[in-house]
């Protein structure tokens, strides 16, 4: 407590996280999302078909089921599309933040000095489009860590390098 100072802080002049321009995720990530949605819908569709084949009674409701299925598919696609537009991340001088969510828009800020380790994942479909997912872990457990998908792999690597450098400096 030797060099203790306590100057007045103008909290209004602090850098505002909510005004930082966000980098949106790569447009190519939409393709990855579409593939995932498609696979999911395919599996559900196969399941429904199987039920329809084996259970004759339900066949009477064929059109209702089909209708629900189509509405569900459309809803999923629009929701994911909307969520892609909402997602974004930004790297500031001393922290990294990620915004996501459709119903609830949430922004998480992780200061560099609190990062425990970083992982860069390339999923099968992501790799086709040259994308990666950055996963940033803190000691706050899974709730306090960031998962940023859909970043171009080169960009993701450079961000990871930058963060690694910051962490090592902090030590």
């Amino acid at each position: 407590m030797k060099e203790f100072t306590n100057e007045t802080l103008d909290t209004g002049s602090l850098p505002k996280y909510e005004e930082v321009p966000l980098n949106s995720l790569s447009q190519k990530y939409w393709n990855v999302m579409l593939i995932n949605i498609f696979i999911f819908l395919l599996i559900v569709g196969i399941g429904i078909t199987a039920v329809l084949i084996f259970n004759a009674d339900i066949r009477a409701y064929l059109y209702i089921i089909l209708g629900i299925y189509v509405v569900f598919a459309l809803l999923m696609i629009t929701l994911y599309r909307a969520s892609l537009k909402k997602r974004g991340f930004a790297v500031r001088e001393k922290d990294i933040m990620y915004t996501s969510g459709i119903i609830a828009l949430s922004t998480t800020v992780v200061p560099f000095s609190r990062i425990q380790h970083i992982a860069l994942d390339e999923g099968l479909f992501s790799r086709i489009y040259g994308l990666g997912e950055l996963r940033i872990f803190t000691a706050g457990g899974s709730s306090g860590s960031l998962h940023i998908p859909g970043i171009e792999i080169e960009k993701a690597k450079s961000i990871k390098e930058l963060l690694m450098k910051q962490i090592n400096e902090a030590d």
Partner: protein, 510 residues
């Protein structure tokens, strides 16, 4: 310390556990095998009706097993060595007969060192030493048999890195605290009794229900197996219920709950003591198993205290001190690294907080939740269940109609509870501390320092945009602090303020 003992407590050479370790290892192995084999064995014995040969075979194989286990214990004892590499600041444990493992722990990663003693260890006269480490991969080390003097010295050496540092930075404080040898806090029998009466009703109730169901099941199995005429028993039971009035039963249940509560408290916290050491708190307790925990203030992530109505009357507080828990930051249970002080008064609380935080925190500027907080809770807990109940009673289950009047007391009780929850949901913020108050019956205050924050999340539902209402989630290494329905502009400015504080401050979170 004399030279002879100095040599004895030199940990730079690989050394073994206490010789009694053989017994402990043997007992552990034996226990494991008995646990694994007990059920199948019993089944075999019950299923096969013939007696002579089988019993012989079993006894012989058991004897053989015991001999093998004894050898195994002996060799594991021989192969289990540990030493301290002071140059590299590492503690190394080697073990294993067939497959060898070498566990290296860097001293600066050590979170806490616990010295415990279970019943068997108490009989043999040894202690176990557990090392908790920080690091996402689970690497916990245990030395199962070690005498008390060695354990204490080893513990000091393992934690010495911190102490050396701290002695350099603040020699005055450590000098002063060393002189104090009398405990900072000691729980008397009287206090323990008060604690038992006033806290943990829920846990005891669960335990009791579990116990009752267990005995009922056992009773059923027993009567089934022995083909006793159960009617006699059920008749007796029925008569019993008419005999005792429900009121008496309720009183009986309360007495049992209080009784188990008191017994549990005594077993867990008997002879509870907190002793101030060099910049650390040593906490010990336990009736059958002695628990010893060393708490270093800069490793504390979150301190909390709570109090209910009765405890307030007794001037009792319950404190919880949470250290970083890497495996279970999200789980509510399995709080091994948590330290609980079951009872203290406000003075003692302030002293402990002062020790951990460097000063006694005061409530800063108050943040109140929006009235929407109570609105949503009312929907979930009152409107929705009543709607379901009414719909069920009118369309599906007419029997329920007789109970429709229950709705009125339900609304009253739940309404009052929700109101109190709303009233108590507060966040107090000042320069040095963030304090969150919450709770319905037990009012809890959770205190964190801004530099212990790992990440911050601000969240807003889209229909709250116009009302400027949002949520704040503070992630720490000891769990999450959630403030709901606050003024979103204010929350955003707090996020900015705290990120600024974390990034400017040189203080590490651990």
């Amino acid at each position: 310390m004399s030279e002879a003992t100095n040599r004895e407590y030199d940990f730079s050479e690989p050394r073994k556990q206490s010789a009694a370790g053989i017994i402990i290892m043997f007992a552990n192995g034996f226990q494991k095998i008995v646990r694994a084999l007990a059920l199948p064995l019993i089944l075999i014995i019950v299923k096969s009706k013939d007696s002579g040969h089988l019993a012989m075979i079993l006894i012989v194989s058991l004897c053989l097993l015991t001999i093998v286990l004894a050898f195994y214990a002996y060799f594991s004892y021989q192969k289990f060595t540990f030493f301290l590499d002071e140059k590299k600041q590492e503690f190394i444990i080697n073990s294993g007969i067939f497959s060898k493992t070498s566990l290296t722990i860097q001293l600066n990663k050590i979170q806490q060192v616990n010295i415990n003693q279970n019943l068997l260890q108490q009989v043999v006269g040894v202690y176990s030493l557990e090392i908790d480490t920080a690091g996402s991969e689970k690497k916990e080390a245990t030395i199962k048999a070690i005498d008390h003097a060695t354990a204490t010295i080893l513990k000091q050496k393992l934690l010495s890195r911190d102490q050396v540092e701290e002695e350099n930075t603040s020699p005055e404080i450590s000098d002063k605290t060393v002189e104090i040898t009398s405990p900072l806090l000691k729980l008397s029998t009287n206090t323990l009794l008060k604690i038992g009466i006033t806290s943990n009703y829920g846990a005891s109730l669960l335990l009791l229900t579990g116990f009752i169901f267990g005995t009922l099941q056992l009773f059923k199995d027993y009567t089934d197996a022995l083909e006793i005429e159960r009617e006699q028993f059920t008749q007796m039971l029925n008569q019993g219920i008419t005999f005792f009035s429900m009121c008496f039963l309720a009183i009986f249940a309360i007495i049992i709950i209080l009784g188990t509560n008191i017994i549990r408290t005594f077993i867990k916290y008997f002879n509870f003591k907190i002793i101030k050491q060099k910049r650390a708190l040593a906490i010990s307790s336990g009736l059958f198993t002695h628990k010893n925990v060393l708490l270093t203030p800069n490793k504390v992530q979150l301190s909390a205290y709570s109090q209910n109505y009765f405890q307030k009357k007794f001037d009792l507080l319950n404190m919880k001190i949470k250290q970083a828990s890497f495996d279970s930051a999200d789980k509510e249970d399995s709080k091994k690294s948590d330290i609980e002080i079951p009872g203290c008064n406000e003075l003692e609380r302030d002293e402990v907080l002062n020790m951990i935080l460097g000063q006694v925190p005061v409530n800063g500027a108050e943040l109140k939740p929006n009235y929407r907080f109570i609105f949503l809770q009312t929907m979930i807990w009152i409107a929705f269940p009543i709607a379901v109940f009414v719909l069920l009673s009118t369309y599906a289950l007419p029997i329920l109609r007789n109970y429709l009047l229950i709705i009125i007391p339900y609304i009253m009780v739940v309404g009052v509870m929700l109101y109190f929850e709303f009233r108590r949901h507060r966040l107090y913020v000042d320069e040095n501390f963030i304090i969150k108050r919450s709770g319905i019956w037990d009012v809890e205050h959770e205190i964190i320092e801004p530099h212990k924050i790992q990440a911050i999340t601000a969240k807003q539902y889209f229909w709250h945009k116009a009302a400027d209402v949002g949520h704040l989630i503070i992630h720490t290494a000891a769990g999450v602090i959630h403030f709901k329905y606050g003024n979103y502009t204010h929350i955003k400015s707090l996020v900015n303020y705290w990120t600024y504080k974390i990034e400017v401050s040189k203080k590490d979170w651990m």
